[in-house]
Structures are given as C-alpha cells and as structure tokens.
C-alpha cells in the first residue's frame, strides 16, 4: 500500500482527535453518555465483557 496514503490517514486521524479534544466539556459529557449507551449494548452481546463485575451505569441526567 502507498506509504503516503497511510501517513495521510494517520495524520488526519490525529487532527480529528485533536479537534475532539477541543470540544466544550458540556459537549464531551453528551458524547460520554452516548458512549455509555453503546458500550452497554455491546457488552450484552459479549459474554467475556458482560461477566466483568466493574461498576457501570448509564448516567441518568438531563443536559
């Protein structure tokens, strides 16, 4: 595969993560709650992950 293409993809991903880091905290909390919902759903279908007894609960808050 073209090395330039791979490094271009890697650089654009770094840029994307940097831009996500600059979001407001309020927007980050909204993302975290959506991630909690996705994680909870995926956990249901993964026996190994659902067996973990680590405390997890989707936050019950209004934003």
């Amino acid at each position: 595969m073209n090395k330039n293409y791979i490094s271009h993809i890697a650089e654009s991903k770094v840029d994307y993560h940097r831009s996500q880091a600059k979001l407001s905290y309020e927007d980050k909390v909204k993302i975290i709650i959506e991630l909690q919902k996705i994680d909870t759903e995926m956990r249901k279908n993964n026996k190994k992950r659902s067996a973990s007894d680590k405390f997890r609960m989707v936050w019950d808050i209004n934003i």
């Binding site: 770094v14 993560h17 940097r18 880091a21 979001l23 905290y25 975290i32 405390f55 609960m57 808050i61």
Partner: protein, 168 residues
C-alpha cells in the same frame, strides 16, 4: 451534571469536605478527547480526617439524608455515580493544592491541572493511564516546564523516560 456539581459544592459549604477537585477520567476528558467512563472521581480533603477511623462517614450520612444511594464504592448523586477519594500520597496532595477553579454547566467547580493529571497517570501506570497519557502528550495544552518540575519533584523522571521510549 450541573445538579451533581451543585450538590458537591454543598458538601463544601456544609464543611463536610474542605476541598475537592475533579480527577480520573472526567478530569482527564476536560483536556483530551473523551472516551467511555462511568463515574466521577473526586479527590477530596476532609477536615480532621487523620483522627477519624472512617473519614468518609459524614459524606455517607449526608447522602443518606438526601436519599442518595451508595452503590459499591460510589454514591449516586443526581444520576451520576461519584467516588470520593482521599488524597492518598504526596503527589495527589500537591495536585489538589494546585487545582484550577473553572465553570462547568454554569457552576463553579475545581479540576486537577493537566500536568498533575499526567504525573498521576504516570505514577499509577495502569494500561488505561498509559493510553490516556499518550493522548495528553498529543492532544492537551500543558506546560512542559511545570510537568518536568513535577516529574523531578516526585521522582518520576526515569519512569517518564521509559514510558516515552515505549510509546514514541
């Protein structure tokens, strides 16, 4: 989350907690891209905690009066599981003493500075900490001089150099 922060500030107003700062994942995500987390970690200083067998007892009494349920090591405050962590070493005490005052959801609150969070992640050294420290190095705005001074003061320079060799 505003209501949770208001209730935490109420603990300070009541004198149950002397000072606190947001730490852990929710502290880190103030500076870097967020990922999944399920709790709000607070580093706290409680007045007279050294002389008490159960230093968190007044927090649990307050929670009971307010009908906030304890769940494992957390207390669910206005929908968010909050974990109260006493300062457990000199680095964490220094981090708490140098916290930043900020506003979140229009509520005044306190958060650990990025340089201290990075040093704590390095000291703790779990895989999650290493992963997030890497993100801090590329995504966060932090002061390199302050970070270096903290590493020196708390004897973490060698640990950081080893970390850098593995992750650069």
């Amino acid at each position: 989350m505003k209501e949770t922060l208001q209730k935490i500030n109420e603990l300070v107003e009541l004198g149950i907690i002397e000072k606190y700062a947001i730490a852990g994942g929710m502290g880190q995500f103030y500076y870097i891209e967020p990922s999944v987390t399920y709790d709000l970690d607070l580093i706290i200083h409680i007045p007279g905690e050294e002389s008490t067998l159960n230093p968190l007892s007044k927090i649990y009494e307050w929670a009971d009066k307010n009908n906030y349920k304890p769940l494992k090591e957390h207390i669910i405050i206005e929908g968010i599981p909050v974990q109260f962590l006493l300062e457990y070493n000199d680095l964490v005490t220094a981090a708490l003493n140098n916290r930043s005052k900020i506003k979140l959801f229009d509520e005044e609150t306190y958060i650990l500075k990025p340089e201290y969070l990075m040093a704590i992640m390095l000291q703790t050294g779990r895989s999650t900490d290493k992963e997030r420290l890497t993100k801090f190095l590329t995504e966060a705005d932090y002061n390199r001089d302050i970070f270096s001074a903290i590493l020196n003061k708390f004897d973490l320079l060698n640990t950081f150099n080893k970390f850098n060799k593995m992750y650069e």
